[in-house]
């Protein structure tokens, strides 16, 4: 039985290294990002972070155009605390993370969202800050 446990533990260990067994992803694949308007006054930004990668909460930034459209405080999930001897304490996101952005679009028009992010791979590399841009039409009104 001990041998079976050892073999099972080895398999689990191998599966726990999702990044290590493959080439590193580029940032667009590691941190897939999408955005949509889920109402006239809310944008939902979704980050699908690949296994073995993570995003820094403090490096998520958002801007909205045009000037007449206003962006409220992002509703960020709590995330997990990561302690790093050389980097200090950070809050990070893994897997799927959804951020809601309250907006006020004065004339309910199309808005352009820029979403900045920065993250790393557990294997020990970090990606430069990346900017994603989304043009989001106003949701059609129910009649």
């Amino acid at each position: 039985m001990r041998e079976r446990n050892l073999a099972a533990a080895a398999v689990l260990f191998a599966l726990a290294l999702p990044v290590a067994g493959q080439d590193l992803l580029d940032a667009s694949q590691a941190f897939r990002t999408s955005a949509r308007r889920i109402g006239a006054d809310v944008i939902e930004v979704r980050y699908d972070t690949a296994p073995g990668y993570y995003l820094y909460r403090d490096r998520l930034e958002f801007k909205l155009q045009p000037e007449s459209a206003r962006l409220g405080a992002p509703k960020l999930p709590p995330g997990k605390v990561k302690e790093d001897e050389f980097f200090g304490r950070s809050v990070i996101y893994r897997n799927r993370t959804i951020v809601q952005l309250p907006i006020t679009a004065m004339d309910n028009s199309t808005v352009t969202l820029t979403a900045d992010l920065q993250g790393c791979a557990d294997i020990g590399v970090c990606y430069p800050p990346v900017r994603r841009t989304f043009v989001l039409a106003a949701p059609s009104k129910a009649r």
Binding site: L6, D26, C120, C126
Partner: protein, 179 residues
């Protein structure tokens, strides 16, 4: 039963060994067999002119002819910060052998200067914007991540590329092979 036990142990050991190999694969880096890099890439490196932490403009070509360790990094990159204390020690130990470290940061000057003071960095740090990442890509950093380090021999050829932390023992071995 004995045969099952033997097979189970062998499978476990093999998987652990392979996993450990995978885990270190990307951190081991790559030493080009030919030792020759694309001339255009090296031209871009030699011509790179950036401000150091004192605001003085420096060209990488200034250090041509040394055994050059060029480390691309940033203060926002935790593994970059992790490996740099070892570089300070190696620069001190290997300066007499003609080894010169140069850090090239994709960052802001004030942040780099503060970090350099904190760690008492004893080699030049040049500071650029995101174009620094593009330069590293032209030197072989295919996914434009950091840290990324190249070792250049006295003839100006890249003899080692490293994405991720470059361990001191590995770097010593690479340098010893071209000294």
């Amino acid at each position: 039963m004995t045969s099952f036990r033997t097979v189970a142990v062998c499978v476990a050991v093999a998987i652990l060994a392979l996993s450990a190999g995978y885990a270190t694969h990307l951190l081991v880096g790559e030493s080009p067999r030919s030792g020759v890099s694309h001339a255009a890439d090296m031209d871009a490196l030699w011509k790179t002119e950036l401000a150091d932490t004192n605001g003085q403009r420096m060209t990488v070509n200034h250090w041509r002819g040394s055994i050059l360790v060029v480390n691309f990094w940033a203060t926002w990159c935790a593994p970059c910060r992790e490996e740099m204390p070892a570089f300070v020690l190696l620069q001190r130990d290997l300066a007499g052998k003609g080894v010169q470290f140069v850090g090239i940061a994709a960052d802001q000057g004030e942040k780099v200067k503060a970090f350099a003071t904190e760690l008492q960095i004893n080699y030049p740090l040049l500071v650029g914007g995101m174009d620094v990442i593009d330069l590293s890509a032209r030197l072989g950093n295919e996914i434009s991540a950091l840290p990324f380090t190249i070792v250049v021999d006295r003839a100006g050829r890249i003899v080692h590329r490293q994405l991720g932390i470059l361990k001191p023992d590995k770097l010593r071995a690479v340098i010893a092979a071209i000294s």
